[in-house]
Every structure is written in C-alpha cells, then in structure tokens.
Amino acid sequence: MSGGSQSGPFGPMGVMENEPSLNAKRAGGDAARAGRRERRSFGAWWAWVIFILGALYFILPLVGVFFHSIRTRPDIFLAYRQVFADPAFLRGLGYSFTAGVITVVVSLLIIVPTAYWVRLRVPRLRPVVEFVTLMPFVIPPVVLAFGLIRIYSQGPVRLAASDTGLNVMLIGAYVVLSFPYMYRAVDTGLAAIDVRTLTEAAQSLGSGWGRILARVIFPNLRTSLLSGAFLTLAIVIGEYTIAQVLARNMAFAPYLSLLGRNQPYQPAAVSLISFGLTWLAMILIAFLGRGSRARVQVAGAR
C-alpha cells in the first residue's frame, strides 16, 4: 500500500505552493539582491570618473548655448523677447508641429492596420514588410525628397506645382521616415498583447473588423502608439533636409538654420527651446512607458 502517495508531483505540494509561495518568492528575491556579497558602496572610483566626464560633455554645450543666449546687454532676455516677437518663429514652430501631428495620424492609420494584418493573417509576408519599413534607414533623405520632386513635377500627378502639393509630399516623406520606429513600436506592442485571442474574442461577440481595431486593438496599444507618436513628432519638428529640398522654408529647422547665419543671439535661444521640446517629448515617452518594459526607441542622427 505504500505506493499510494506516489500519486506524483501534484500531491499536497500543490496546495502548499499556491498562496504563500508568491509572497515568499518575492521577499526572497528582493532579499537575495540586497544581501549580495558585493559591498554596497558609493560606486567604484572609475565609474565616477567616467560618469563625470560624460556629464560634462553632455551639459557643457547646453551651458554654452544658454550663456550665449543671454549675452545681450543690458537686457539679458532680449534674444528670447525677439524670438517670441518674431512671427517667423511661431509660424515655423506651428508649421512643423502641424506637419508632425498630421504625419503621426497618417502613419498610425497606415501602420497599425498593416502590422495587425501581418501578424494575424499574412505572417509569411512579415519579412517583406519589415524590410520595406527599414528602407528609410538606408535611403538618404535628400535622395528621397529630390526623387519626389522629380517624379511629381511631371506626368499625371503634378504635386510639385502647388503649395498644397508640396505639403502633401512633405507629409508623405515624413510618414515614410516614421515607418522604421512606428512599425517596430506597433509590432512589439502587438507582440505583448495576444492579438489573435483578442480578435477572436471580439469576433465571437459579434464585432466587425473596424470595430475590433478601434475598440480593442488601438486601446491596447496606447502606450506603444503614443511613444512612437512623440518620437515622430520630435523628429519632424527638427527635420531639416527634406523640408529644405521641398522648399518648405517656413518649417522650424530651415528657419533656425537661416537664423543661425544671420542673427547673433536668437539662434542660441531657439536652440535651447528646441532642446527643451525634445526633452519634453522624451519625458512624455518615458512617462507613458513607465511600468512597461518597452524598449527605448532611437531615431538617429540628422
């Protein structure tokens, strides 16, 4: 009769393991970390040296810009006053911000259904779509922009002939630029939620496709969508080359570039404001991403 309790690993163990183990495990984990053999010191000396060097390199240019922006005498805030009084500044910021928002909306409208569809229905096309979304990484923006000009200044669709057409091309190019990180943001977001199960659950409750996307998928992707959106916004506001080629000189970066050539102190003020805007966008991303283990996205240099 001794074989009775050999009923296996599912014996009374299961009961013991359930409730108390969760807390115990957590406590044990934290404790183990805190009690490691390492001396909980103030950090290694070399770490401080490296960190301080890095911090100096990070901060000095900002200090330089700041001091330059307040060099005006006697009124040290003159540059800022002039900038805010300059209609070109507000117009540039407004134009680029609007372009950024439109880019985000169009990009989302294209990428979300596409990434969703690829994941759900045509996974074997995933490498193709991934490759296409990575293409903007290797195509120089100037080539993209100039190709657009040449194509749409002849033939049936002459976008380059009108101001509106040029704006459309600008947005189109920016949307393409946003593909690499938008697609990745959405795709990792979709990976985190179980798209198939959510979709099937929604379908079983009688939802149509549009409804599923709007009511189920979009809300569940909110965090990754918003961080992708803010990154796109930051990039569009700072973008110079494409705007310049498409003669969008009212945009923020061309405005700043011109200012940098013609004015002594205002460019410093605008640069600092621009840095603040980038900072704001990143803080918003970090704030939205808190708690989730979303990977930091980087747009890269321009």
């Binding site: 074989g3 009775g4 009374p12 163990m13 044990g28």
Partner: protein
C-alpha cells in the same frame, strides 16, 4: 567529525530572517536534500555553502576547514543552477573546462578530463556543440559535468530539474544519483519536490519559514513526521481533529467513533489533537488492523495505479481518504454506500495539539481539488 558542517547558521536580509538555527552535519559521500516550499530558506542556505551569501551568524566547515567567510572563488564547491547558467559564448567542452582553465591547468589535462566527463554524462563527442544547440536536459547534464570538473569537495544542486519536463526529470534524477554514488561526492540537493527528495536522498532536511522542521532518512520523514508541517508537506495525508479520551491508553475520539494510537499520548485527557493517517495505511473492510471506522462513500477517484476513496465519517465535514491498489477484478465501493475501513494503531500518528485547528477540508481533499 562530519565532512560538511553547518552550525547555528542564521541569515537576515534587511531585518527579515531568512534562515535561523540551521545545524547540519553531513558525512562524506552523503546525499542530503533540503526540501520545503518556496521561500523556506533552502536556497539561501545552499548559497551560503557556496559562498554567494554571507551568514549573519554561525559557521560553515568543509572537511574541518572554516569556510564561512571565504569568497566563492576560493572554496572548492561545485554548483549546478536551476537555469543551467551555461556560458552561451562557449562550447560544451569550454564550459566544462572553464574551472580548470582559470585554475591554470594544461590544455592536455583539460582535454582529457573533459572527455571523461562527457562520457560520464552520456554526451560523448558533443564537446564542440554550443549550449543553444542542446536540449534542456542535455544542458543540465553539461552543467553537472562543469561543476564536477573542478573536483569539488561538495556538490550543490539548486532545483536542477525543475525547468525540465516530467519524464526527463525522472530519468535525469536517476543519472544524477548514479554519478553521485560513483564519485562518492558529498552532495546537497535543494528541491521543493517531495518525490525527488525522497527518492534521491540519504537524508532529507525538511524546512519551513527559515527553520529546520525535521532531519531524517526518507522513510522516517515519510512514516514518522514529527511536526504537522512535515506530515502535510511530505506525501498525502488525512489530518483530522480529535479529542484525547485516555492518554495513557492512547485512546482518541474521532467523529464520534473511538480509535487507538500506537502508544501513549503526551496530551492530557480531553485535549484537542490532530490525528494524521496516511491514505495508504487504511484498508477497506475490517482486515487492516484494530482500528475501525465507518462512513459513507462520498467519492471514488481513479488515479492510475491506485484508487482513492473518500468517506464521510460523521455526516458533517469530517472526511477520510484511503488508497487501494487498482485491481481490475475488484469493484470499487459504490457512492453513498456505508463501508467500514480499518487500520493498525501504528498508522495513526497523533501530532502535538496545535493551536490552529486543521483547515475545513483536510489535506487530501485539497490535493484532490488540485488534481
């Protein structure tokens, strides 16, 4: 003198006690398991032997040498991790040879030893594979060989099988034991799986909430648990509330019926006690021993080689489960029928009257709910 000695070992993490009053003396070549639920301090104790944690108090000696505060890389202790922890950038051979390499052994020496160890773990000729090319079970065998390569004085295994499939788990467990016997190496094995601990070990240390509950041979732990925790944690068990009728005569009242325990009871007459009876110690019918109980059959569950029958003894919540071997020629008891079961007085363990009454459902019922 014992080979591996832990004396009054205590570990606190930021004010909370993880392990206390831990005493253990393991002989050379002995296989000792630490058994307990997660968070009971078994892994912490193992990590103190390895040197990854420093005890707050107490001392650890290996072969008479004090190692309590010696850093891990200056102890000669082999460790196998639950997650294998193979170095992903090295081949199997380089993984196994790593300990010898950092000890400055010659290339030939390493090569020869690695070859021997690959034979030992039944992976000959796989030395040039990378860990990601191996299955979980193979990786864990490599991890074992890697720990043995430094010819450690003590081998430590931290839940080495819990990441593996059930079948591989059983096969690998026998391999580990065979290799351990062959090398005669003193081994400490941490697990939360009672079956693993009981089947592998010379001695089992049952732990709960940082303390040792009981140390003993597997059979003793199973048959003669000294605390209620051990009784409920190891194996399947009926735990029943009872009242002592006659302590010197060992007579107890249980659900309105009277039974006898194996000997005198420490608790006084009229006090509340918990009675523990293994389901496999009870027989259907009256042939199983002097104690007899009558009840209504509530449930019969078929568990493969055994059949578990649950009786209701008093029409209320007091239930008793018993196991019988599955015998195709016999008919199982009919539900709602009244049956008599019997067991010898020795099968009936009276546990120290605990302040807390047993849970409403006994351990067996709860375990069945899990099934």
């Amino acid at each position: 003198m014992a080979f591996l000695e832990l004396e009054g070992v205590r570990k606190e993490f930021a004010g909370t006690v993880a392990v206390e009053n831990f005493d253990l003396a393991a002989e050379k070549g002995e296989f000792v398991s630490f058994l307990g639920p997660s968070g009971c301090g078994k892994t912490t104790t193992l990590r103190m032997i390895a040197g990854f944690e420093l005890p707050t108090a107490g001392s650890i000696r290996i072969d008479g040498a004090e190692v309590t505060n010696r850093p891990p890389n200056r102890r000669n202790v082999g460790m196998v991790f639950q997650s294998y922890a193979l170095f992903p950038n090295m081949t199997v051979a380089d993984n196994i040879g790593f300990g010898m390499k950092v000890r400055g052994r010659s290339r030939d020496q390493i090569k020869q030893k690695v070859g021997e160890l690959l034979e030992l773990i039944h992976l000959p000729g796989r030395g040039d594979r990378f860990p990601w090319q191996l299955s979980g079970g193979q990786q864990q065998r490599v991890a074992l060989a890697r720990a043995l390569a430094i010819e450690p004085q003590v081998l430590l295994l931290d839940e080495p099988l819990s990441a593996l499939d059930a079948k591989i788990r059983v096969a690998l467990r026998h391999q580990i034991r065979a290799i351990q016997r062959q090398l005669g190496i003193t081994t400490v094995y941490v697990t939360h799986d009672q079956e693993e601990a009981l089947s592998l070990s010379d001695r089992v240390v049952v732990m709960s909430e940082g303390r040792i509950e009981q140390i003993g041979a597997p059979a003793d732990i199973y048959n003669f648990p000294t605390t209620r925790f051990v009784a409920s944690f190891v194996g399947t068990l009926n735990l029943l509330n009872a009242k002592v009728v006659d302590s010197s005569g060992g007579r107890i009242a249980l659900a309105g019926q009277e039974i006898r325990a194996g000997g005198a009871i420490e608790a006084g007459n009229g006090s509340e006690v918990t009675v523990a009876i293994r389901p496999e110690g009870i027989e259907l019918g009256s042939g199983g021993g002097a104690n007899q109980l009558t009840g209504t059959v509530e449930d019969v569950s078929f568990l493969g080689s055994i059949v578990r029958t649950r009786l209701n003894l008093d029409g209320n919540g007091t239930t008793l489960s018993l196991d019988t071997f599955n015998d195709p020629s016999l008919q199982a008891a009919a539900i709602d029928s009244t049956v008599t079961v019997s067991f010898p007085p020795e099968a009936c363990l009276v546990l120290a009257a605990s302040a807390t009454p047993p849970p409403p459902t006994d351990a067996v019922a709860a375990a069945e709910a899990m099934l």
